[in-house]
Symmetry: D2
């Protein structure tokens, strides 16, 4: 059954020197970039890249982002960011994230992002665009 | 009564060219910096700067950040970020934010951040540090 | 005489917490943004904004950037960035910069950027575009 | 002979969505981070990491950075950044860089950075620190 399909991906985070703040930990505002890296990895794995949206003249802006920081990342750590697609019937793209420290499997951060679809003039699309519905079918989500 | 005290601040956002993405709008991951600018403005207004925390050897890391994006900001806009202190008896610092487009008073973004207190070794402090309690008294919050 | 015209501008730098690195000083890669802020201030003062280039379908990409770092900036400092237009007969936009610590007038950084003109397809323009030549005349540079 | 020793490294650049500006190309101020990534790769290959400097209480700040931008990078490209150690008898660390588009081997950018050594109080060290001299010997540079 489609509901059972779980799409997920992960990638290593390479912490940049400039992402670490005066306190010696990754600055909290850096994480949206790591989450974006995860969406990239997801898109690459399942054939749904930013470039595709651009070609289709569709924006998929983030309208909601919730981040819970549980443990700071320090320079030199090699964390993983994991992303999981949350299936929804609404015209939304929902992802859940975890950043994990592989040295002890501690969850350092959890997050959720919600994206909607807009046309070139920033009008909200109430239905998911055709290319996206096709993609959902192709990966077994509907 | 202390509950009635409302502490708030605001400042103009100067949108940098590099904060705008390929889609012509401010990249969603830029906003944590704008929220931090607002906390800075708040701290400057009410005498509670980052420097103070550093002197006291206290971290106040963000443990929760929720952002709702309602309308994209574009290059050339001159939005305001408004910050309001949310009083809490817990050992937490809670702020609510709004980013407003002054041209039509539209709310472009709302957000909340929650900070906790940690010592130099990243141990959570269950009680707010003394300097912070003093500050709360000095501004009429307790 | 036109050669004698000196166009310059300056603005205060507000050092963001996230621009400071683990070493407690502004990360060296932050400075291009400060220089861009200075170009913005220059453009605002003399009527030559990015928006104008966009309207004209002209890119003015930086092709050369040289930065000499003399003294680190620390969080809490309130430096000034000064920008000076370097007149040139070539189809180039050249700026010199200084970042100064007003507390002792020390020069913390000097820099130069060179921009060229390109059309929408990234073809180099060998002559400055008309709107730019008009602007140079209007401010007394030719 | 030592002079003949050439130390170099390279790594793939993963262009982030947020590193691309309104013009559709990587923002010029992003490149210092790419150069830093290259230094990281160099350090990892030859055993000379930032962490080492921190342990030794030595700063190695960049005092000079020169970048020549030849061809813009666009989102979706997979460029390489190449770094080469420039041996010097002075108490300096000099690197040359090239960013190359592997699709046609075009050089998109060249750069040079110069670093000096400082102690914890930002005093310039006129001689390279011992750990660094040892490192140079260990890799055949002296």
């Amino acid at each position: 059954m489609a509901e059972a399909t779980v799409l997920s991906a992960q990638r290593k985070i390479e912490i940049r020197f400039n992402e670490v703040d005066m306190m010696g930990v990754v600055w909290h505002g850096t994480y949206p970039a790591y989450l974006e890296d995860a969406r990239e990895a997801f898109g690459a794995k399942y054939g749904l890249s930013y470039t595709r949206y651009i070609v289709e003249n569709i924006f998929a802006p983030i309208v909601d982002m919730q981040i819970k920081y549980r443990r700071p990342l320090r320079y030199g750590m090699e964390p993983l960011v994991k992303i999981r697609y949350v299936n929804s019937q609404a015209a939304k793209i929902i992802f859940d994230y975890e950043i994990v420290d592989p040295s002890d499997n501690a969850v350092c951060l959890t997050a959720r992002t919600v994206q909607v679809f807009m046309d070139r003039d920033y009008n909200l699309l109430w239905n998911a665009p055709e290319f996206y519905v096709k993609w959902k079918k192709s990966v077994g989500l509907i």
